[in-house]
């Protein structure tokens, strides 16, 4: 018996390790709770990137379901979601951008090399609006309903899978209810 226990020891240790691995996979750091969920967008007026005479405010996001994407040219993983954002824009999703703590010229150059999926982009040069939104880091994406209420937020690179799993059910529900 003692020998069997000894032989099972490595397997036993391994199973414990796997248990912790399993659990830590389910602890997805990207699903951060947001204090802003279910609340209206904070009030803001930002100059539009590339055309500072125009302004973007929270009222522009009313009336239609849209997403607000926080990005910056210095954010290397923002490129990772650009292909998918371009795809979303092409299938008709309204995307607003929040250019986070960026340099105007860099941001415009960045858009010319990686494409522009945004309807309008607000220049949040000092990051104040991002603080009001409770932004954790770029990239980050908010789902906004037609009343300007934040319905979901995702921190990290947006992918087709996340879109299907997290955004689409909520969008369908919102459309169904109204």
């Amino acid at each position: 018996m003692k020998v069997l226990a000894l032989r099972l020891m490595p397997l036993f240790l391994f199973i414990i390790l796997i248990g912790f691995f399993w659990y830590s996979l389910s602890l997805d750091p990207k699903k951060l709770p947001s204090a802003k969920l279910g609340k209206p967008l904070p009030n803001f007026v930002l100059p539009v990137l590339g055309n500072p005479n125009l302004k973007l405010s929270q009222n522009d996001l009313n009336g239609k379901i849209s997403i607000l994407n926080v990005w910056a040219s210095w954010c290397s993983s923002c490129v990772d979601e650009q292909i998918f954002l371009l795809h979303l824009a092409r299938i008709g999703v309204t995307i607003y951008g929040l250019n986070y703590k960026d340099n105007q010229d860099d941001a415009i150059n960045w858009l010319s090399s990686w494409g522009n999926p945004y309807k309008l982009i607000g220049s949040d040069l000092d990051g104040k609006v991002a603080i009001d939104l409770g932004v954790y880091g770029a990239p980050e994406t908010f789902l906004i309903d037609k009343f300007g209420t934040i319905r979901f937020r995702y921190a990290g690179v947006l992918t087709s899978k996340i879109w299907q799993q997290e955004f689409m059910p909520r969008i369908n529900e919102m459309e169904h209810n109204l």
Binding site: V3, L4, L6, R7, L8, M9, P10, L11, F14, I15, L17, I18, G19, F20, F21, W22, Y23, S24, L25, L27, D28, S73, W74, S76, V79, D80, Q82, I83, L86, H87, R90, D106, S113, W114, G115, V157, K161
Partner: protein, 650 residues
């Protein structure tokens, strides 16, 4: 088109991997010799198609095919050709493809060089390897397809390869490391095949040893190169960070080292057989666990790849099947974990057993430190990270008894030895290793640092004892009587003592200094006069920046070095290219920090005595392993005899 050919080739490779597993297994069940023999067709076919798949991805890089997302994300038009070839393994998807390529390369080699291997063992080894390759090819196809295309971004120059990777070290380090990592799969498969057969002959160890040694050599070289590269490229003079990814490569190395030693006992004394099987399973299991930790994103690390929980889940299930299955099989089939027949306390067997115990304890403490943040988080006790202070605090005290043991171990005879003989051989060696370091330290540095002294005593103890055993052997059997395997052991052990000397002296007597300097100024640093001569702007293929000229001089010695601050054009990423005045006994390392105002810079200087010994020792260890590997006794005569003994047992 090329990318689609690549994907198709990978699918064909998957098909042949399935054939490789299914047909011979049915052959074993229904006792059909020719079905079993089909491995010799499937292995080369699978290798060919994986190589084709790999080649296709390389062609995508060389032709700047940015519709392939992976190429878009890891290359650019201006990336030099040399880096385009290496950029194939610059991201997650491609490095998994490299992993599979190397796995099939090992399989191809096993198939080629095992003509005389006991046939039932050989086919089982290849079936197990085939199963592993199925797991990895499916992983690539399901979660990490490097050939997937995008048509959203077409007007692009590409995102460029991560600038940290744009260094010649990148050509060698990942493939070497993977050769080692993946190479342990062969020893693993030999162990599983032996458990499957239900018996182990002494020649099993003889057959497993060269494969283990080869993988271990590659891993040694890979880790050494990685450390040297980090020192050059990360810009702050460190050479080991206890980063989770480094630990993920170091743990299999430690267990591999234990395995090499226990295989020696298994081969020579037919002892520790079950223990050796367990080590062979553990070494490769740790490679897999390392892959999980790195690719799932459960731990953050400087080596982070694109993180995806689904990949983590796949690898976790794969881990559960492969490692859980193997350990389960082990529990069922092995008679005991450590069965020791008439072990004498003062004998080489005992020393090697103790060596194994220490190495396993070291591995477990590193594993503990690496996964501790996960465990604390899993128990809901908060988030924390475990850094170098923990690892240094546990690793160094465990190395001390191991090094002391090493000095004794190399002298001990098999079966039985005596205190008296040991004393007569090692008495002087012990005294000298206590005195020489003290003398050297006091004469050269005119100071006394206890930590340095202790480190040097241990290094000299190993060094002198190893040289002594070589001398004794030379006296007894003459120059021709020394086998390459023995010489390899001596060189590898000397290498370890050189590494210990390098670590001890560079951390004990290293100096660093942060200075604000502008061109024309000079400082006195570590006995050298260092002048900031000039600064100029710099333009490279895919970067621009500044290049500084520093002149180091001392007593007629003069040397110019040119540290750079580069800004990579795509992504505007700044990189520090340090410049190092290298010599055998000391490095002077200069790194440009940030420009402070128009003409002055923050500059960082390091003086690192004996730092080259760290990697020099690593190279010695590698070379020792290589000598043991080419020792002819594993090949010519030995093999024929094995075949006979095996036949005799059937």
């Amino acid at each position: 088109m090329i990318a689609e050919i690549g994907l198709f080739a990978l699918l064909l490779a998957l098909l042949f991997a399935f054939m490789l597993v299914i047909v011979p297994t049915l052959g074993i069940i229904f006792n059909k010799e020719d079905w079993q023999a089909s491995v010799k067709i499937y292995v080369p076919l699978q290798f060919f198609f994986v190589a084709l798949a790999y080649l296709a991805l390389t062609v995508c890089f060389l032709t700047d095919d940015f519709t392939v997302s992976y190429v878009l994300m890891n290359s650019s038009k201006s990336l030099p050709l040399f880096y385009k070839i290496c950029a194939v393994w610059g991201g997650h998807e491609g490095s998994m493809l490299l992993w599979v390529f190397i796995l099939t390369l090992w399989m191809f080699a096993v198939n080629l060089f095992s003509k005389n291997l006991f046939f039932p063992l050989k086919i089982r080894v290849l079936i197990v390897l085939g199963l592993l390759s199925i797991g990895f090819i499916l992983f690539i196809i399901i979660t990490s397809n490097p050939y997937s295309r995008q048509f959203e971004i077409l007007q692009t120059v590409g995102r460029d390869l991560n600038p940290l990777l744009q260094d010649p070290g990148f050509l060698f380090h990942p493939p070497m490391l993977y050769m080692g990592y993946v190479g342990f799969s062969v020893a693993f498969s030999f162990a599983i095949a032996a458990l499957w057969l239900g018996r182990v002959e002494s020649s099993w160890a003889k057959w497993t040893r060269p494969w283990t040694l080869a993988a271990w050599c590659f891993l040694t070289a890979g880790i050494t190169l990685g450390s040297w590269w980090a020192y050059r490229e990360l810009g702050w003079g460190g050479w080991w960070f206890w980063d989770p990814v480094e630990n993920a490569s170091f743990m299999p190395w430690i267990v591999g080292t234990a395995l090499i030693h226990s295989l020696a006992v298994a081969e020579k004394r037919e002892q520790f057989i079950a223990w050796t099987l367990l080590l062979a399973i553990t070494a490769f299991s740790l490679s897999l666990v390392g892959t999980f930790l790195v690719r799932s994103g459960v731990l953050t690390s400087v080596h982070a790849f694109a993180v995806d929980p689904e990949r983590g889940l796949y690898i976790l299930i794969f881990l559960l099947v492969v490692i859980g299955g193997s350990l389960g099989l082990f529990a069922l089939r092995a008679k005991s974990v450590v069965r020791v027949k008439n072990l004498n306390l003062i004998s080489r067997e005992a020393a090697l057993l103790l060596n194994n115990v220490f190495l396993m304890v070291i591995m477990l403490t590193i594993l503990m430190g690496t996964v501790y943040p996960l465990i604390i988080d899993g128990l809901g006790l908060g988030k924390l990270s475990v850094g170098a202070p923990y690892f240094n605090a546990v690793f160094i005290p465990l190395m001390i008894p191991l090094l002391i043991l090493m000095g004794f171990g190399v002298q001990l005879n098999w079966q039985r030895d005596g205190f008296k003989r040991l004393y007569s051989v090692l008495g002087l060696v012990g005294l000298l290793s206590l005195f020489i370091p003290a003398l050297l330290e006091i004469i050269i540095t005119k100071s006394f640092n206890l930590n340095v002294y202790l480190g040097l005593v241990l290094a000299f103890w190993v060094l002198l004892s190893t040289l002594k055993t070589l001398l004794i052997r030379l006296k007894i059997s003459g120059f021709m009587g020394i086998s390459l395997a023995y010489l390899g052991m001596v060189i590898a052990h000397l290498g370890l003592s050189l590494t210990v000397i390098g670590i001890t002296l560079s951390s004990g007597y290293g100096i660093e200094s942060d200075v604000k300097m502008s061109p024309g100024e000079h400082i006195f640093f570590a006995g050298f006069d260092i002048r900031f001569v000039s600064e100029s702007s710099l333009t490279g293929a895919n970067y621009h920046g500044n290049r500084a000229h520093f002149m180091i001089s001392s007593n007629g010695y003069e040397k110019s070095i040119f540290p750079e601050k580069r800004i990579y054009n795509v992504g505007n990423i700044p990189m520090t290219e340090s410049a190092i005045d290298v010599s055998l006994f000391r490095d002077i390392y200069v790194a440009l920090g940030e420009p402070i105002n128009d003409d002055s810079w923050s500059v960082r200087f390091y003086y690192k005595p004996f730092v080259r010994f760290i990697w020099g020792g690593g190279f010695f260890i590698f070379f020792g392993g290589f000598l043991a590997l080419v020792d002819s006794r594993y090949y010519l005569k030995g093999r024929k005899k094995n075949k006979l003994t095996f036949k005799a047992k059937i």
